[in-house]
Symmetry: C2
Subunit: 264 residues, 2 copies
C-alpha cells in the first residue's frame, strides 16, 4: 500500500499523476490539496484567503465560515472531482472523499490562535484543527474492491461540524493508522532543497535521524513539514520520498528515485 500526498499548487500535474497511478502495481491512497484553486476562488468571490500570525510568529490560514465554504467548493468540489475524473479516464477507479464522508477523518478543533492586535493580545478561533482518528475499515473496504480513494478536507470536528486541517497531518495519521511503509509527497519543488533559492540543491538522500535537525534550519512551510515526517518514522514508515509534482510523470519519477529519499 502506497500513500501519496499531492500538493495543491497550480503547477501540479494531476493528469500525469492520474496516468502514473494507472501503472502502479500496488494499491494507493491519495491525499490532495487545492490551495491555488481555493485562493483563486476566494478572490473571485470577494473573500480573499486571510492568514493570521500568532504571537509566537507562526502564520496560518484563517478558516472562518466564508473560507470554509470556499474551501469546500475548491477542495471537495472542483479539484477533487477533476482529479477523480482524470483518474477514471486513465482506468483508475478513483473515489473522491472528504473527511466528512463515512466519518472518514475526525479530529479536534484548535483552541484558538493568540494574536497581537492594536497592542492587545486576543484569541482568534476558526474552523481548523487536528485530525485524530481515521475510519480505516472504510478505506480497506474500498481498496480491497480495487478502488483508489482520493481524500481531501474538510474533516469532522468533535461536535460533528466541518473543519479545515493540514493535509500533512492527515497523511501522518493515515500512515500510522494503516501501517503504511512508503509515503510519496509530490510538491511544487524538485525535493528538499539545501538552499531554498537554488532548485539544483536537492538533497538526494536523508536519514530519519536528520529530520529534526533539518527542520530547525529549514524555512517556511518546510519546517512544519519536516517535523511531521519525523513523526512517521516512529510509526513504522520505512521510506518517504519528496519529489516534483510538476513533471511529466511525477509519481513514476518519484518511485524511480527522483527527488529526496528519506530512510532510516
Amino acid at each position: 500500500m502506497l500513500l501519496v500526498k499531492v500538493g495543491g499548487g497550480a503547477a501540479i500535474n494531476l493528469a500525469g499523476i492520474a496516468r502514473d497511478l494507472a501503472s502502479l502495481d500496488e494499491p494507493a491512497i491519495v491525499v490532495h490539496g487545492a490551495n491555488a484553486c481555493r485562493d483563486d476562488l476566494a478572490e473571485r468571490l470577494g473573500h480573499p484567503t486571510r492568514t493570521i500570525t500568532s504571537v509566537s510568529g507562526v502564520s496560518s490560514v484563517l478558516t472562518d465560515e466564508d473560507a470554509l465554504d470556499v474551501l469546500t467548493m475548491a477542495y471537495a468540489g472542483l479539484v477533487n472531482k477533476r482529479f477523480v475524473q482524470l483518474c477514471q479516464q486513465q482506468g483508475v477507479n478513483a473515489i473522491g472523499l472528504t473527511g466528512l464522508d463515512g466519518a472518514l477523518v475526525r479530529g479536534r478543533r484548535n483552541a484558538g490562535i493568540r494574536v497581537q492586535e492594536n497592542g492587545k493580545k486576543r484569541l482568534v478561533r476558526d474552523h481548523s484543527g487536528k485530525p485524530e482518528t481515521v475510519n480505516t475499515s472504510l478505506l480497506r473496504l474500498l481498496v480491497d474492491q480495487g478502488y483508489t480513494p482520493l481524500l481531501t478536507v474538510p474533516i469532522l470536528d468533535e461536535n460533528g461540524l466541518p473543519m479545515n486541517t493540514e493535509n500533512d497531518s492527515v497523511v501522518a495519521l493515515l500512515q500510522k493508522s494503516l501501517g503504511v511503509r512508503r509515503v510519496v509527497q509530490l510538491l511544487e519543488a524538485p525535493g528538499f532543497l539545501e538552499d531554498p533559492d537554488d532548485p539544483a540543491s536537492v538533497v538526494a538522500e536523508m536519514r530519519f535521524s536528520e529530520l529534526e535537525e533539518r527542520a530547525r534550519t529549514a524555512r517556511g512551510r518546510f519546517q512544519r513539514k519536516l517535523m511531521g515526517l519525523s513523526a512517521m518514522a516512529a510509526s513504522g514508515c520505512e521510506e518517504i520520498i519528496l519529489s516534483d509534482g510538476r513533471s511529466d510523470s511525477p509519481l513514476s519519477a518519484a518511485l524511480a528515485g527522483r527527488g529526496t529519499r528519506i530512510r532510516s
Copy 2:
C-alpha cells in the same frame, strides 16, 4: 431499500431530512439537487445560469465549461458536503458521491439542442446527457456496511468526461438498476397539484395508469417529471410519493402519507 430524491431549492429542509433518515428502519439511497445554490454561485462568479429553448419549445439549462465548474462546486462541493455533515451529526453514516466517483453513473452526452437564432437554426451542444448505467456493486457494498450514499451530479459521459444530467433520470435509472419498490421525491411543493397555482389542490392518490394523461396536461417541469415516473412503474416500482421537502420532517411526513401517493 428506499430511494429518496431531494430537490435543490433554497427552501428544502436538509437538516430535517437528515434527522428523518436517522429514524428510518430500512437502508436508503439519496439523490439530491442544488440548483438554488448553483444559480446563486453562478451569479456571484459572473456566469449566471443560462437556459436555452429548443425549436420544439423545451427549455433546459445550458451546461458549458464554466457552468460545469459552477455545478461541480455547488452540487459536489457545498450542498453535498453540507448534507453529508448534517447526516453525520444525526448519526447517519452518509457518504457523498458524484457519478464520477467509482464510475458510479455513466451516460451518453446529448447530440445537441436545435435552437432558432437570428432566423437560422443551429445545433448547440453542451456538457449534458442521459445516464445509462450504474455501478450497483459499489452502492450495495456501501449500503451493506451501513453507509447511506448521498448522490449528485456530475456523471461520466461516454468519453470519460464530466457532464450534467437530470436528477430525475438518475433516480429512474437507480430504481430500475436496484429494483427499488418505493421512491420518495421531496419537492418545493406539497405534492402534485391539480391546479399549480393552488397549494391546497394536492392530489392525494394517483394510479400509475393516470401518469401519462396527467403529464399531457401538467405544466412546466412537472410534465417531464411525470413522464419519468411513468417509466418507473414499468420497472417494478410499487409506490412513488411526491411530498413537501420544506416541512419540519419532510421524509417522515411523506412516509406517513402527506403529499401525493402514486400506486399501481
